[in-house]
Symmetry: C2
Subunit: 318 residues, 2 copies
């Protein structure tokens, strides 16, 4: 069965993101006895002119959702990825994509379902303060790993300890919410996520509980890449509105940004930022859904795309 060129196939993996009930959701495929996976499809250049179109059309056909924004993330080609029993000669190179969609009502999804993305990355949710799992589980394990003798080749690279501090923060290193991939890679390298066991890097994680829900193959890495990219992107592109309904309150908008970025934001500063960026305009209506004083409703001002070079929500500090 071996062809010439050893059989390479190109697959597309989509991290389809949405926000519902102010929680960030990721679309996963669940099959019994298998770990959750990102939606996957082969790329067939005979059917689709570009990979972007292929991804968009394939996902839209399978889920009946409209993809508002699509962006290529990274191409994952390591030998050993996608290894399955019996899957010998075939090598799958996979192009990861980020796609954003609005979640109107609950829809039939044909085998796929929405999961809170922090189920896979519990250490990324800082909305109500530093997650305890960091100090209770992650740092003890990583500090042990950082003390091991390092492989010789890496002398001019940052030490394990420096990488640890950059990724998870320390006294003089602030926690940076965009370093999602660095954090996941550290956990993978140190052998404390289940995928490291599945890939044969370590015998077992040494933890009594798995550290976040594991995913199939390298899909958690792809999801980490997607979260990182999205957290960065909302700062200079108005992609957050791809996740919002046509009308929303400023508190909803803030909660959505907080859901994506995993951080708590300062209300006044957030509002000033939104106002200064001229991203929204009052729609006239009000919403009394929450119980207190009714909130004014706003809509996205599409004109900002014409007016400003970098329309986004550059949240920095609190």
């Amino acid at each position: 069965m071996p062809e010439s060129k050893a059989g390479i196939e190109i697959g597309l993996n989509a991290a389809v993101v949405s926000v519902a009930q102010l929680e960030p959701r990721i679309l996963v495929v669940e099959e019994k006895g298998m770990r959750p996976a990102l939606p996957f499809g082969p790329f067939d250049p005979a059917r689709h002119r570009t990979m972007d179109m292929s991804l968009r059309e394939t996902v839209e056909a399978q889920t009946a959702l409209h993809m508002g924004y699509v962006e290529q993330l990274y191409t994952f080609g390591d030998r050993g990825r996608h290894r399955l029993p019996g899957d010998q000669g075939l090598h799958v190179v996979s192009v990861g994509y980020l796609a954003l969609t609005r979640l109107e009502r609950e829809q039939a999804l044909d085998g796929a379902s929405w999961r809170d993305w922090y189920r896979f990355f519990p250490w990324e949710d800082w909305r109500s303060g530093r997650p305890p799992i960091i100090d209770q589980v992650i740092l003890p394990a990583l500090e042990r790993w950082a003390k091991e003798p390092e492989p010789a080749l890496a002398s001019s690279l940052p030490s394990r300890l420096a990488r640890l501090k950059r990724a998870f923060g320390a006294s003089d290193f602030p926690f940076d919410e965009e370093r999602v991939l660095e954090r996941y890679e550290l956990l993978y390298e140190s052998g404390i996520v289940e995928e490291a066991v599945a890939d044969g890097r370590v015998g077992e994680t040494g933890l009594s509980q798995p550290l976040g829900l594991p995913m199939r193959h390298d899909h958690r890495r792809i999801l980490a890449t997607a979260i990182a990219r999205l957290r960065g992107k909302i700062k200079y592109r108005p992609v957050i509105f791809e996740l919002m309904p046509p009308e929303f309150t400023l508190t909803d908008l803030q909660a959505t940004v907080e859901a994506i970025s995993g951080r708590h934001l300062h209300k006044q500063n957030f509002r000033r930022l939104v106002e200064a960026a001229e991203l929204v305009e009052p729609s006239g209506g009000t919403s009394s859904a929450t119980g207190g004083r009714p909130a004014a409703l706003f809509r996205f001002r599409h004109q900002v795309l014409e007016e400003r070079p970098q329309p986004g929500l550059k949240t920095r500090g609190r």
Copy 2:
């Protein structure tokens, strides 16, 4: 000849960058009667475990240069790319890479040669002010293009005029040196670079001179991606030192950053920035190569990787 799966092949393209005589250089392959191309090689997963390693080893073997830094850029998979007479069924998906190297002395390069990257992008070199080609050639052509009726589908996207202002700057839109790809794509879409003719998008560019040297296939797009990524990267990672000799003067360092970013920098502010970032330390020696007062020599402080979360040269204004 059509196989099942239509025959997909994965190629790697490297934008190998160096700086010599304070000019940014790009490694190109030149064959008679053909446009210059980026070095290209097939990805064979049987020989190399990861694509990064494949790229590194292939380029190092072909050029006898050491690649100091390697980074994946983007995967280009459009149908129609890589079209050659006789090349019917085969589809080449190509993964673009950025690689940095030091140029010790002139070395045998086996068919490849170094070219000033601004030969391909004359509108990107703002070191001695706004390049005249922008006002003389580019803006007149793009403004004509922006006035044409736009395709109907793109109603909620930024208008051609807004894209033009964002890409090339205007009164309230500053010129952003990182938007190299946006600028190239605008020139391509509007049909005024030769590649648009070669791809059959337009009959001719309508210009008497080609706008920058054209490259083969979509290689100029890959190079634009590489320049954009590198211009961004030097702001938060010390990759600039991959292009410097072990010892250098601060003026050399500034000139190298200027060569990459295409901008003129304010001397005092640049020095303060370098000092504040603690990126370098005096080596003790001096250099009197230039004619005036001898300059102190510095070397890169590898320790910054341990000390700072984002060691780079965040040049913003002048």
